[in-house]
């Protein structure tokens, strides 16, 4: 196997090594599948999005296999496949322990897919993969300590430190929607209370707006100057600021990236109160100025991009 160092696209200490041949990255959400194909220099050969109705493990395996075939009809055989999943993974990234929106739990997705596809498969959590993409290619390029928060139905999180994803002792690090920003506060679906995503997410905004409007309606109303909607989004921005402030003593991030449709749509309403709160609660002089808070730049295929880079790196990485 011939390997060669990748051109440095980021400041990480351990540069990735590129695969000699295309790699496919897929991001399987609850209803959408994003796919990208990268050549061995990391250039995007193809990107696509499709809706899917896969529910249950066999349907998920079929959907992924079909998506790989669709890519390969256009670009030829890929040497490795990376899959980002809306779900929780084990420590070794071989099993999906829970994927509520895909209707299965505790299955060896990595090895089952590798068997079907006849080549190496790399799994990662979707927000983690997106964080890696933003670090390598996007809003977090050059950051030594990067945090991604994706605002959607819930909140996803990803952390990249010194070029590496932080995965945790049980594989469940960076579940930043469950930062306890209001101890003893409103109950969360996780069984805890006062979690960040109880106050800042599509679901939260809809609930806080009375339950009859979606978060999209709330943002549209705020754009028209509706004072209740503006206040709801400002409150959400302050909650985000509190959550980010909680991360500073631990990670001292240089960059916090906000991703997801809600973050981009509501940015003019969210960001000023977020930054104001963050400036007011910055906890430690050595960590000033606090992290730069930016919108994501890798777009809706960020998870697929990160998965593709992981697949290429995992396949051909020189052991340290």
């Amino acid at each position: 196997m011939i390997v060669e160092p990748a051109a440095s696209t980021h400041s990480g200490i351990r540069p990735f090594v590129r695969a000699l041949g295309p790699v496919i990255g897929l991001d399987l959400g609850g209803t959408k599948l994003a796919a990208v194909v990268l050549d061995d220099a990391g250039r995007v050969l193809r990107r696509s999005w499709t809706e899917h109705q896969a529910n249950g493990y066999e349907a998920v395996l079929d959907t992924i296999t079909t998506a790989v075939g669709d890519c390969e009809r256009v670009v030829g055989r890929a040497v490795a496949v990376g899959v980002a999943v809306a779900g929780l993974l084990d420590r070794d990234r071989s099993r999906v322990t829970a994927a509520l929106n895909l209707g299965f739990a505790d299955r060896p997705l990595r090895d089952d897919l590798a068997g079907r596809l006849g080549r190496p498969v790399t799994l990662e959590n979707d927000a983690n993969a997106a964080a890696l993409a933003e670090h390598l290619l996007g809003a977090g390029a050059g950051a030594r300590s990067l945090v991604l928060l994706t605002l959607g139905t819930g909140i996803g999180g990803g952390i990249v430190v010194d070029g590496e994803l932080v995965r945790g002792g049980r594989g469940a690090a960076a579940e930043l929607g469950h930062l306890p920003i209001r101890p003893g506060g409103d109950p969360c679906g996780c069984g805890g209370a006062g979690c960040l995503e109880v106050y800042v997410s599509g679901t939260a905004l809809s609930r806080l707006a009375g339950g009859t409007r979606t978060s999209r309606h709330v943002v549209a109303a705020a754009d028209r100057g509706d004072r209740t909607a503006v206040r709801l989004l400002a409150d959400a921005g302050r909650c985000l600021g509190d959550g980010i402030a909680m991360l500073i003593p631990t990670l001292d991030p240089d960059v916090v990236v906000l991703g997801g449709g809600l973050a981009h749509a509501a940015a003019p309403h969210l960001l000023p109160p977020l930054r104001e709160r963050l400036n007011a609660t910055r906890p430690f002089p050595a960590q000033t100025p606090g992290p730069d808070v930016r919108l994501s730049t890798c777009g809706p295929e960020s998870g697929a991009l990160g998965a593709a880079h992981l697949a290429g790196a995992m396949r051909f990485r020189i052991p340290a």
Copy 2:
């Protein structure tokens, strides 16, 4: 230069490479200096503790130079020196940005020492170095995600993820004494409010006990069954539990190590309420069981041990 892989003493992905020759590790606190010398297999050849009155930069340089000479009179010339400092370091670990208890700030300690000693010097924050030692040799052996909290006059913190210290975008990660466990709570010396060390530290216990007793007196009173003292320490244990709970969504640690004289002395009073609180507030099913909370096992020379390992590794490490 001949290098060879170190025998694996830990589960980290990137094993350290050992220096061929002794390395010295020093831990310079406000009033005490710990020193260890390791041979090229990581065995401790010598350990010592001395009091010092170094205050100001020149006095610190002299104290360290003298300590190196004292070690070398016994064990011969060391190939590298690691220094753990009670202070804040820059991102590259070359400058000490603030060392309040040593009476200086913003000085290029690494390169000044290397010039004086004529060999490579590695700097690290004292609690970070201790966290690395606990990971390599102590209570955190085998942990993928380890957090150290040292309870002393204040609270120090260190984080090791996948065998590497988390240093942060500005070099100020793991300042865990400043986790905001009580937003809007009692003021902290850092300028913030409600920080963990406002409620759990030698200084905090003395203050909460009315200001006339030291934390040592409080622990002794609790050992005798004094109900006020027992309650003070139980409250401190619950605050520690709240602080550790705040780290779970972010780091998903498998092991949390408590170090420092106060943690060991007060463990029977602190640990049961700490664990009870942690069990009650565990925020996310995928992260259960929560981290195992253990007392440190590397002893008072943990910072010096970690500094020595960093010095050996930094000097001879094979680039990844």
